[in-house]
Symmetry: C2
């Protein structure tokens, strides 16, 4: 197992160097980059659709989709006029920096104001992989249960932003929103938590304002 | 990367040998073993609670819980009088046969009629790991969306049984049950699909009958 650990550490170090080069490239194009991470079916693509509808007219958006199989998610984003590139990972449970580089080579995504990377649906594996993003976003749908931050602490500690999704279903499921706010605040005191429903539109403005505020801050810095 | 692949293959082969020994041990104790796999928050533990309430009086049940962090799930099962052992994987995204062996050593789980292993919440990593089980069960909650079988084909091809959970939420979410039945049947023609709601109890009898039928069949064979 020692060999595996050593090789894994080397692979992660190479990946981090790659991520640093991506970060420089995104700085040159003044592109804000968010890395979306959640369980399968938490509503990442649906949130991106709502984001494209609200911001697509005034900002240049671009999306990189990561999935084990199918081009479905990229097709959904392209249908809204936003350029999207689909990465198919085969069996792999996360994206890495090299794949992001490949996506930028393969598709005309830059220059863009905001690039969103939708990671593979997985609450564990993507956590430690730096994709050159400005910040990670963890999504948690109210149907998944309010125990998820304490059961998957790594991602909720590392994500600058937690988005609680599917808030329209709150009347139908047992989900203690205050408990989630409290556990996320405890894991990540500097983090931001937003509650949205892509179905009713509630909270989408807050999410989009967070993106535009961060874009402005990046361009001022 | 060649080294990583070789080491991974060797590790998988060792794990498969380990799984084979577990399978022999489960045959000796005439224990039916199911390996539950799903996204975080699909309702694995809640289904086990409903199972314990229905079968706990007449069968010896036992549970092994796999989680990245917290003893919460094992506590929920023990509260119903069913012996449960919690495996904490740290950062790892799946259980392996060695850990199951360790759980059997650490806790008085056998002899049992039915042992259910609740894998780490993850729709990708646990797919290829043999835990000595009789069959894998994939859970999919209706809130995750009807596209999940085609987006995560490996697990839905390999799981003998697919359990569609949270059926009580069907009126509130866009989920085409017929499309899911069709895609699972296409990925896994010999598979069985059951629709349940652990909240209303719908379908729980079908699920429990599947377990008891398979237990009888194993003991006859």
């Amino acid at each position: 197992m020692k060999h595996v650990v050593t090789i894994r550490k080397k692979a992660l170090a190479a990946s981090d160097e790659h991520a640093q080069r991506l970060r420089e490239r995104f700085a040159e194009s003044a592109t804000l980059v968010a890395n979306l991470i959640s369980s399968p079916g938490s509503g990442k693509t649906t949130l991106l659709e709502a984001t494209a509808r609200r911001l697509g007219d005034r900002l240049r958006l671009a999306v990189i989709e990561g999935d084990v199989a199918t081009e479905n998610d990229a097709d959904r984003i392209r249908a809204l006029g936003v350029p999207a590139h689909q990465i198919l990972t085969g069996g792999a449970c996360h994206l890495d920096a090299r794949q992001i580089d490949g996506a930028l080579e393969a598709a005309d995504l830059l220059p863009a104001d905001i690039l969103v990377i939708e990671n593979v649906g997985n609450l564990i594996c993507p956590t430690t992989y730096d994709l050159g993003e400005d910040f990670k976003v963890a999504l948690l749908s109210v149907t998944e249960g309010d125990d998820k931050p304490v059961k998957y602490p790594a991602i909720f500690s590392r994500a600058d932003v937690t988005v609680v999704t599917k808030a329209d279903l709150l009347p139908h499921v047992p989900f203690d929103l205050d408990a989630v706010k409290s556990s996320v605040a405890s894991l990540n005191p500097a983090g931001t938590l937003i509650v949205v429903s892509s179905t009713t539109g509630d909270g989408i403005e807050d999410w989009c304002r967070l993106l535009t505020d961060r874009l402005e801050a990046k361009r001022r810095s």
